[in-house]
């Protein structure tokens, strides 16, 4: 069994930090030839507003894949009902079977210094698989 991740789940809510996390995961996934699963937690308002993340963020993701030379054939979406932390925790199980989770340090509506909404902190505390938290010090990850 490889020690390298074969399936990388990336929390993606369209926030700047999520874009940064996705870029890091694409760069890493390309080197490891891993499959990338973009994970979107569908909240109450997503359903109320009939929002489809694939339609909303498809262009952004395609542009990122081009920039980081990531083969889009190795990319898929997983949209599941729930809060971001619960949905990402379940990514270790079927149907995603991820062996690494990548998230930005802050989600779309999370506030700096506010512990109560921090998906990344809760995930790091409870995840059964390794978690990478991509810091928000830059607006987007740049490959070295």
């Amino acid at each position: 069994m490889s020690i390298y991740p074969r399936t990388i789940a990336v929390g993606f809510d369209g926030s700047p930090d999520a874009v940064s996390a996705c870029a890091w995961a694409m760069a890493t996934g390309r080197r490891l030839e891993a499959h990338l699963v973009l994970v979107h937690a569908r909240g109450l308002l997503d359903r109320f507003d009939r929002r489809d993340p694939r339609a909303l963020f498809g262009d952004v993701v395609s542009e990122l894949a081009t920039r980081h030379a990531f083969n889009e054939a190795r990319l898929s979406w997983h949209v599941a009902d729930g809060d971001a932390c619960s949905v990402l925790l379940r990514c270790a199980e079927a149907p995603v079977f991820a062996d690494l989770v990548v998230v930005g340090s802050r989600g779309r509506d999370e506030h700096a210094g506010m512990l109560i909404g921090s998906t990344s902190l809760q995930l790091a505390e409870r995840s059964a698989i390794p978690v990478v938290i991509v810091p928000s010090t830059t607006s987007e990850y740049h490959e070295p």
Partner: protein, 347 residues
């Protein structure tokens, strides 16, 4: 006799365009007025839940942070949930309303309680807000009753699983939590194998049903799966997390219930109360204002013993096969976990 709380002016807790809005309580009040109860309606004054009462279900650090967040003006807590400057005092009033209503029920030893508050509560976890909910209103009242030595049944028919209430009472043998909800749907929890912690096995009953479920299927799930567990538990109080977003007109989900179905469920719930004055209905979700008004009226008329609804009960929807699967999954999980627990205790 119906005992309800003074309905707060919740105008300070609002976010333009958000479906969890002050108009919801106006629709609820209209539903209440439609009943024309006259002297049979008793209104108790509002009071805030104290910190000690909140600490029975929420972590102190969370209460501190939520209070400070509101004091600084609030904002979006997550993608669904917001708070404003006024949300903290209003949330404390919402959490305290159930306590005031239950106190009045206990004092009179008669009547049925109706707690008409917002923001709703059943998604609020011990350590965080979620799903429009800041403080878990029904859990605050259930915990107060439980600390007074009562055995509390929390019956939840909101279309979403009450993950917060389940989490708070996960390992508490004196609280039985029963939820029938659409699945899959937010918040993603509420599968049959979630049956409670080792100290409270079989104290959680989850009844997931598919989109399109009608009233006959929901009623069967409650009666056939949860009924025997409730009988064995023998509650001394019954609290209902009454969400009306399972109504077919509600924009938030895909159950196909009518106001007549809520009347049927409410009649069943009322029959579970062990004595007069031991039943209280808490408002949770419900975002179509007309459906909310009619469903509140139907529910309250039923718990008062004279059910009337503007819509007939529904039947023929999907989900009957799921009831059998739920029974089997609960039984096999209970057998497995009990065996593991016994083996661990023996070793």
């Amino acid at each position: 006799m119906l005992i309800t709380n003074e309905v707060p002016d919740g105008a300070g807790h609002e976010d333009p365009g958000h479906p969890e809005r002050p108009d919801r309580l106006i629709a609820v009040r209209e539903g209440l007025e439609d009943l024309a109860l006259g002297d049979e309606l008793v209104t108790v004054g509002l009071r805030s839940a104290t910190r000690l009462e909140l600490l029975r279900v929420h972590q102190g650090a969370y209460l501190d942070e939520l209070g400070a967040f509101c004091y600084e003006g609030g904002g979006d807590i997550d993608e669904d949930t917001y708070a404003t400057y006024d949300s903290w005092p209003l949330a404390q009033l919402a959490a305290g309303a159930g306590l005031a209503v239950v106190d009045e029920l206990a004092r009179r030893g008669d009547g049925v309680g109706f707690v008409a508050v917002r923001p709703p509560g059943h998604h609020a976890l011990p350590d965080r807000a979620m799903g429009f909910c800041l403080l878990n209103n029904v859990a605050v009242t259930a915990a107060a009753l439980r600390s007074a030595g009562e055995r509390v049944l929390v019956l939840d028919w909101d279309v979403h699983h009450g993950n917060g209430t389940q989490s708070i009472f996960w390992n508490d043998p004196d609280v039985l939590y029963v939820s029938c909800h659409q699945w899959p749907l937010f918040p993603g929890s509420g599968v049959p194998s979630e049956i409670g912690g080792l100290a409270a096995l079989d104290r959680i009953v989850n009844l997931p049903l598919p989109a399109g479920a009608t009233g006959d299927v929901v009623a069967r799930a409650f009666e056939e799966v949860a009924g025997p567990v409730i009988d064995e538990f023998a509650p001394t109080w019954v609290l209902v997390s009454a969400g009306f977003d399972g109504h077919r007109d509600d924009p938030m989900a895909d159950f196909a219930l009518s106001s007549g179905d809520f009347a049927h469920l409410a009649t069943w719930a009322a029959g579970l109360a062990p004595a007069p004055g031991r039943l209280a209905v808490f408002l949770e979700g419900g975002y179509d204002l007309a459906a909310l008004r009619h469903s509140v009226r139907a529910t309250l008329s039923a718990v008062l013993g004279d059910p009337s609804a503007n819509e007939a009960p529904t039947n023929g929807g999907p989900g009957s096969d799921q009831i059998g699967r739920t029974l089997r999954e609960r039984a096999s999980t209970l057998t497995l976990v009990t065996a593991q627990r016994d083996a661990e205790e023996a070793s």
